[in-house]
Amino acid sequence: MSVLLIAEHNNKEVKPFTLNAITAASQIDQDLHVLLIGSKADDVAKSLSEVPLVKKVLHIDHEIYENYIAENYTAAILKHADKYSHIICSANTFGKNLMPRVAALLDISQVSDIIKVISPDTFLRPIYAGNAFATVKSNDEKKCVTIRPTSFEAAETTGGSAEIEKLDAADQSENTKFINREEIKSDRPELGTARIVISGGRGLQSGENFKLITDVADKLNAAIGASRAAVDAGYITNEHQVGQTGKVVVPDLYIAVGISGAIQHLAGMKESKVIVAINKDGEAPIFSVADYGLEADLFEALPQFLEELNKLNTIQK
């Protein structure tokens, strides 16, 4: 049996999280096929075929797949899912929306958001927002699994030459219509994939004071995050929120400024490689997860921090 991975893309290129999911899928079974459902997405098919871990690309090309609609994708997947032991995709908003619909129609109890493949039927997954880890074994004959992208390295993208097989489209759903998508454009790296993230909390005291964060972010080419308290107080918009109810981030460096470290925030950042906390309250829970803690008034520390960074000429862009 082989495993089938559902690719996420925008008809021009593969979305990065699909490459992390490919790595996880190949750990379940090396005979990995990728299903690409799209419209005029030949370039995507070609780039997937060049991923060395991919053994075969199945390509369904039809105008009804110009926009991603879970109902239409599900019908297409079910048409071709028969001969696979596992159906896999990334556990971001794409896969979270799609996979349960597929699993229900196959009468499979899905395993969501795994962070480790222990064996082809046993996986490690976080529960309670990462406050506990569960080792789970699926007893369904066929398995539907979603992958937490930040827990697996991205697959290599060059050197492979998998066969591309064209497949038929399925019926279109009459009851769901795509209207539009507003992508938030920014010159900064995206919060979910940035190498460095600097986040502000209620300690910033106002939206204007977030400028202190922005200045450091500019210098470090970092994404800007925030605690739920800062978002609720209106200092910054909610797409910056890091935490259980916001985004989960795993950067190389996470700098928490004026953030006390509520459970809900820690759940979104504590897997970061290196954590820095700057807070004037030495007892703040954020210090319990910080590699480097600086007990200081952020209004003095941040300008100094920027000054020290300016003295270094080695910031990696």
Binding site: T93, P100, P126, Y128, K177, N180, R181, F287, Y292, L294
Partner: protein, 249 residues
Amino acid sequence: MKILVAVKRVIDYNVQIRVKEDGSGVVTDNVKMSTNPPDDNAIEEAVKIKESGKATEIIAVTVGEEKAQETVRKALAVGADRGIHVKVDGTIEPLAVSKILKKIVEKENPDLVFMGKQAIDDDCNQTGQMLAAHLNWPQATFASKIEVNDKSLQVTREVDEGLETIEVNTPAIITCDLRLNEPRYASLPNIMKAKKKPIEQINASDLGVDTNPRIEHIKIEEPPKRKAGIKVASVEELVQKLKNEAKVI
């Protein structure tokens, strides 16, 4: 228009989870329980739609042990008209919950089903999509804005890239994001009134749904602890450590 809202009883989001020493689960004895947070948004949205005159009845449903009824009672206190409690003991997976909810939908014939996008205990994020699949209804997940039209809804969804808007014909399933609205608190008079509202009890076993778990929980453990960090005395020291020790800048 009739709206069914599904709610789940979970450990309160402010509680620090403790893992049982034998690895069999997390401690729930004497722990504060509440309605799953985005389920509160689901109830709130249904009540708002009813207040705008576009819905006539709201039914709150939960699937779970005896005490799960508390979440239905709370939904009644903020504006649901009546409740249904499907009783089942022990672990129940989203697949089984979705099959039970399908039976309730077939019995009640709602035009819309609302629920939270994800429960904060098992973090599965499955039930709404699975129910939509069983019913062959359209799904609008992670909703942060809902506009109700005559025979359809326009739903803005929170997606990785930003916001996506789709239109779904009714009947439809909507799963709610925390950004959808600000749930209200129940007033004391409404809590008293809610005590008189009816809650129908149904045994899951009477619905003919197989609720046996398909996934075995082999072990529940604490996540690996981060190694203890250090406090630095100054910004200069911090920058030096980041550059020379951690090598991240």
